[in-house]
Amino acid sequence: MKLKLGLALLVLVLLMIGVGPWFGTQDPETIHWDHMAAAPDATFWLGTDVMGRDVYMRTLLGGQVSLLVGLLASLVSVAIGVCYGMVAGFIGGKTDALMMRLVDVLYALPFLFLVILLMVFFGQHLWLLFIAIGCYLWLDMARIVRGQTLALKAQPFVEAAGAMGQSPMTILRRQILPNLKGVVVVYATLTIPQVIMIESFLSFLGLGLQDPMTSWGALVNEGASHMELAPWSLWFPALFLSMTLVGFNLLGDGLRDRWDPTSQQRASDS
């Protein structure tokens, strides 16, 4: 049920974001001086914000940016986390202990602080945003992948591959990696909403993207500061943002219940 509901929500949001702008009649950046903070009507379907810009188009285009950031930063964190965890788990012994201790120390750092510092100091470049958030979120993935790799390494088929003379790199690529797929997909799905949330949070603080580029976080921030005048400029971005996050979380939870053998809730969930 979770899976279906999550998928339905995401498909809906994706359809809106992907196809919606084609139907839009307004330009997202044009300022309509005669229609400031106008309520939703036939021309401005979701109303206009206090600067007289079309909320419909801005919400959808902001969503494209939010989703893009979510996917790319998750990719960064998955790439780092999988490589790190796989190597630590596969080599094992002292190297593993050392690598995991480093992860422990990094956990203890106020990482979000460092991300904020990075954003404040080095400007709000889109690519920096991906890297900063990706570097912040890889720790969980590394832990999970390491645990799985340790378990896989003890399996007979890995031993057999070693006995057949496959090099460690080949074993990692051909034996271990394919078997990590389920776990990685599950946790990547759960990483995406985290990224979107962090990006929104940074944008909310004014540290995310710069005008005219926008994202849901930035839109919610704008909307919240003028909610008495134009509440719809808060409602709609907030609604879309929440729908997306709920969708990803439901999808991730559902996938975890189904695929992740270490998940305890599996037997009990519908």
């Binding site: 602080f113 904020i116 404040v120 080095f122 929104s200 919240a224 808060l234 996050l245």
Partner: protein, 314 residues
């Protein structure tokens, strides 16, 4: 137990040092300085300011001096708030953040456990579905979305509560920030409790209790809940830090003079000492809360074998 505490506290020192060092050099890498202004200052004035704040010395020297001062408990003068030291600023903001965080934590625990228990008791029936759907929505909705909506309805529309402000911590000003802050934690705790309670309820000792004819409510409260709360206890450490160190978002939206805003403001203003001070306080709290949680955990569950220092994660 004493050994664990001492070991952990000692392990905390290098972690704090690492945090401070990283932040210190990251701050200095950043372009711009604390006294850059639109109007250019005369070189003489600049020289004087630099001397006063010891910015004229080389970076390693400044770093050494800063560390020396921190060890003696002095976080230095703020670069932006001319008359205040960082110690004073944190002394102003931290109590406010602690107060809000404490109530939010309490609320999250009570509601979260209750919600999770209901969900587990009615597993896979409608109360469970409703509770868990609510929890997913609670976890997924950022507080900067919830806060304005709550203000819009409860404060602006119905005018039950003040829109914002602090008023020395009067309870009406506490309600909205505390509720907003605790919502995602309520949801997370509910999910944890549901999962672990389900597992416990399927154990033989629960069946024994049921077979003995113990009332269902007693089975839940006296037999099942205590072991089921173990994962919640280990979640409390990070949760307490997240709640009590001050949330920039909550403070900004509700206009609360807490500690969270110091960090972002400090970073924007290049207020080096203030940022470092806040980072240090958060780091110390993180270590203390995690230690507290581990001690609590061992007290509740004596089976726990202490791991080595590796537990220092946040």
């Amino acid at each position: 137990m004493v050994e664990l505490v001492v070991k952990r506290l000692l392990w905390g020192i290098p972690v704090l040092w690492l945090i401070l060092t990283l932040t210190f050099f990251l701050l200095r890498l950043a372009p711009g300085g604390p006294f850059d202004q639109d109007r250019e200052l005369s070189p003489a004035v600049e020289q004087l300011i630099a001397e006063k704040y010891q910015l004229d010395q080389s970076l390693p020297v400044q770093y050494a001096q800063y560390l020396k001062r921190v060890v003696s408990g002095d976080l230095g003068p703020s670069f932006q708030y001319a008359d205040l030291t960082v110690n004073q600023l944190i002394g102003l903001g931290l109590p406010v953040s602690l107060q809000i965080g404490f109530w939010a934590l309490l609320l999250a625990l009570l509601l979260g456990v209750a919600l999770g228990a209901v969900a587990a008791l009615y597993a896979n029936r409608w109360p469970d579905t409703v509770a868990m759907l609510t929890a997913v929505i609670g976890i997924s909705t950022p507080n900067f979305v919830i806060a304005p909506l709550l203000i819009l309805w409860l404060a602006v529309h119905w005018q039950w509560l003040p829109v914002g402000g602090w008023s020395g911590g009067e309870w009406r000003h506490l309600v909205l920030p505390v509720v907003t802050l605790s919502l995602p934690y309520i949801a997370a705790i509910a999910r944890l409790v549901r999962g672990s309670l389900l597992e416990i309820l399927s154990q033989p000792f629960i069946r024994t209790a049921q077979a003995k004819g113990v009332a269902p409510s007693r089975v839940l409260l006296y037999h099942a809940l205590r072991p089921a709360l173990l994962p919640v206890i280990s979640y409390l450490g990070p949760a307490a830090v997240g709640l009590m160190t001050g949330s920039v978002v909550i403070e900004q939206i509700f206009g609360i003079p807490g500690m969270g805003r110091f960090f972002v403001q400090g970073a924007l203003n290049r207020d080096y000492t203030l940022v470092l001070g806040v980072v240090l306080v958060v780091g110390v709290m993180m270590l203390l809360f995690n230690l507290l949680v581990d001690v609590l955990y061992r007290w509740v569950d004596p089976r726990t074998v202490p791991t080595d220092a590796a537990g220092a994660r946040g």
